[in-house]
Symmetry: C2
Subunit: 197 residues, 2 copies
């Protein structure tokens, strides 16, 4: 009988270690100024060995970004199915606050998103899927809010959901470009206030 495919314990452990040190280095020195050799050294293996687990530097960036995506998704999953609009927008502002607690990751995420723009990038499919589900589930929440009369009847919930995501992403970009001077949380809150009028 041929052995079924699957990774080994040592491999999984190593991969976690690599993502950990890569995230730290990326956030500290920046993506482009961090060499694979350095990350490999930090994780106690060769450049070639590193590339066995992550076929390219972009794959590694994607892995780090996915970590943040997963954490954020989990934080949103805690939200009640029938939460009020206020609660939803509160969570949006809360998400922004959480981002600000790891400032280095914001720049990293902006870069990862942009790299994902290239259709041939390994990140493209992942990000496309992530955005689709995020917008869809947020739209579903808004739809329930409309039914309960918390949002005006006739609201285009899909468009609103996309707009909220766009505001979050766009403000994060402005945040990094302004060296952190733009108030991310206030911007999100202001947008929520506008929607709720």
């Amino acid at each position: 009988m041929p052995r079924r495919t699957g990774s080994y314990a040592a491999g999984r452990q190593r991969r976690d270690r690599i993502v950990e040190v890569a995230a730290a280095r990326f956030a500290e020195d920046g993506y482009h100024r961090t060499s694979l050799a350095r990350i490999a050294a930090d994780a106690d293996l060769t450049e070639g060995g590193l590339l066995h687990h992550f076929p390219s530097k972009k794959h590694l960036l994607l892995a780090v970004a996915e970590h943040r995506i997963a954490t954020t998704a989990q934080w949103w999953a805690e939200l009640d199915e029938d939460a009020s609009v206020e609660a939803v927008f509160d969570r949006m502002a809360g998400t922004a606050e959480r981002f600000l607690r790891q400032p280095g990751l914001i720049e990293l995420f902006v870069l990862a998103s942009a790299e994902a723009a290239d259709p041939s990038s390994p990140a493209h499919a992942v990000f496309a899927e992530r955005y689709r589900t995020a917008v869809d589930s947020l739209a579903a929440v808004f739809t329930r809010c409309v039914r309960r009369g918390e949002l005006a009847a006739g609201t285009d919930c899909d468009a609103l959901a996309r707009e909220c995501v766009a505001v979050s992403d766009g403000l994060q970009l402005q945040w990094v470009l302004s060296d952190g001077r733009v108030d991310l949380v206030a911007g999100v809150r202001e947008h929520a206030r506008r929607v709720l009028r």
Copy 2:
């Protein structure tokens, strides 16, 4: 007498040519899949010669991006000082439409913005300045609209301006990630409608 500094006619001509062929190649094959050697060949000079005019590939990306920024800025400058809110938001939708006429440049611009996130990037200062002036001038337009009663009194015009820019950038990101499926213009229009209520 020492000669005053300044570029030569041949140099300016060559630089324009380089930006031209680089923009075409970047939009066609993508930034990362385009080599400096290829661009140099297209512009009839060596890789080393190319790097004399643009010290790094990022500088070249920045130059291409600046070309779009300048074109957009000029298009906005045509707008009347005391244009109505409707006219302003029309111009926003129009800007999105213009972007869609050069789809390859959208992906390129998303990437350039992300690269500018790195404070040590040559693009950082340029983009920071550009965003600052764009937001400021848009906020000034909104302020006049408030005075004329076209926008509700007490509107935070700075925040609104930043939000509009964020929506535009965020939707462009979603556009590339969705392979052009997200309707950029409709999204901008929907946001405008929401603001005007």
